[in-house]
Amino acid sequence: MRYTLILGFILFMIGLWAMLTRKNLFKIVIGFSIIDTGVHLIIVTIGYLSGKTAPILDKLVTPANAVQKVVDPIPSALVLTAIVIGLAVTALMLSYVVRLYKRRKSLSIEDYRELKW
Amino acid sequence: MAVLDILGAIITLIGSLFLLLGSIGILRMPDVYNRMQAGTKATTLGSMMFLLGLGISYIECGCIGRIVVLILFILFTNPISSHALARAAHHAGIKLADVSIRDCLKDDEQEQKGASV
């Protein structure tokens, strides 16, 4: 599963590049959400153990052999909460974008130069 | 058991055939509305038969009730969503193909406009 690790890394780099080079505020937020997906992919991959099943007990995974049969549940649990937070943070960023647009009527980051040095 | 297995496999095969025909239709049809029709009618029937075949071949897992609920859900949501998409496309002013001869929605809208004015 090294491929998903590399995939997550490439997505992270594309998102970072978008955040650094794009001028449009929307594109910056999209870059942020791509970074989010990449990081989640990497964390889930680190918890994966090849040839094992999901951490849910059923007919095949009995309480006796659960430890030998399941993948790591902790990264799944962490990513679960991280995805929900990601949505809330994206919504917060977008509401800032709407608010800035109402004030200055521009989506380009170059028009906001108060803190530029 | 073997009879049920073969029956389920045949139904799944027919369902996937419908899905294949639907995707060919999406590629070959001349305009948005015809494509949408191919992508809705064929895939609704196709995915219903696919799920039904799966439920028949794995009848011992006892998930046939859930599959019936899923089939009802697909039967209900797929046409509605396709209808909303087609209506939005018509409102956005996407032209019909040159070979088509009737546009009833346009006639209806003009009639309503005439009635209200």
Partner: protein, 231 residues
């Protein structure tokens, strides 16, 4: 020009730093001590069939509490930023109403979707799913109403009460564990039952239901604020 060069240098530097890490990361083939401890404990002590639920609700319960707090703060921020001022009335929207088929279908699907969300978070300790997924499904049910009916208004009083009460009950259940058993968010004060039935795993389904209600109402709130009130 200098800025562009700087960006390229930063990206290349990051790739140079992280690529060896990506190459040398050791993908393990057995659980480490902490994870196997969690798996054993959740099967023997808590009787939850879904181990991820046990980790989210109990073993990492404080993380979840913090996460719900972050969600609440973000929702409050969105509502505050997009608040419409008193005098500022929006014009009558010129959107045309949705068609008859869509409205009827949406009003028929809405209760079914809510039911599905409740099913997901009540069965969070047995099957994949839980409070977060169920809450998202409830929010998408409200989204269906928002999209199909342009004049739809949320009843904000009910929404705020559901949100605050579910958050308060979540903390109260945690405190109950602290008082009765001596540790915060300990769900074992209810009978554990047998593995694999609906009434099992102590208070885990109850806690997850409150998380689900809170997440659902908060996400619906975010959607409503992002849409903007049509007066």
């Amino acid at each position: 020009m200098i800025k562009r060069l700087l960006i390229i240098v930063v990206i290349i530097l990051l790739i140079v730093i992280f690529l060896p890490f990506m190459k040398n990361v050791i993908l393990k083939d057995s659980l480490n001590e902490l994870s196997s401890g969690y798996v054993e404990k959740s099967v023997s002590d808590l009787k939850t069939a879904n181990i991820v639920t046990a980790v989210v609700v109990t073993f990492r319960g404080l993380d979840t509490l913090g996460e719900v707090t972050v969600l609440f703060i973000a929702t409050a921020g969105v509502g505050l930023l997009l608040k419409r001022k008193k005098g500022e009335k929006s014009k009558k929207s010129d959107k045309r109403p949705a068609s008859e088929i869509l409205q009827t279908g949406a009003s028929f699907l809405f209760p079914l979707t809510i039911l599905f969300g409740v099913y997901i978070f009540l069965h969070g300790h047995l099957t994949p799913g839980g409070g977060f997924q169920g809450g998202v499904i409830i929010a998408s049910a409200f989204l269906l109403l928002l999209l199909s009916n342009i004049n739809f208004q949320f009843n904000h009083t009910v929404l705020h009460w559901v949100e605050s009460l579910s958050g308060a009950f979540y903390v109260l259940l945690g405190l109950l564990g602290l008082i009765l058993l001596g540790s915060f968010l300990n769900p074992k004060f209810l009978p554990l039952g047998t593995l694999g039935t609906l009434f099992s795993a102590g208070a885990v389904p109850l806690i997850y239901s409150f998380i689900g209600l809170k997440v659902g109402s908060e996400l619906s709130n975010i959607l409503d604020s992002m849409r903007g009130a049509e007066e």
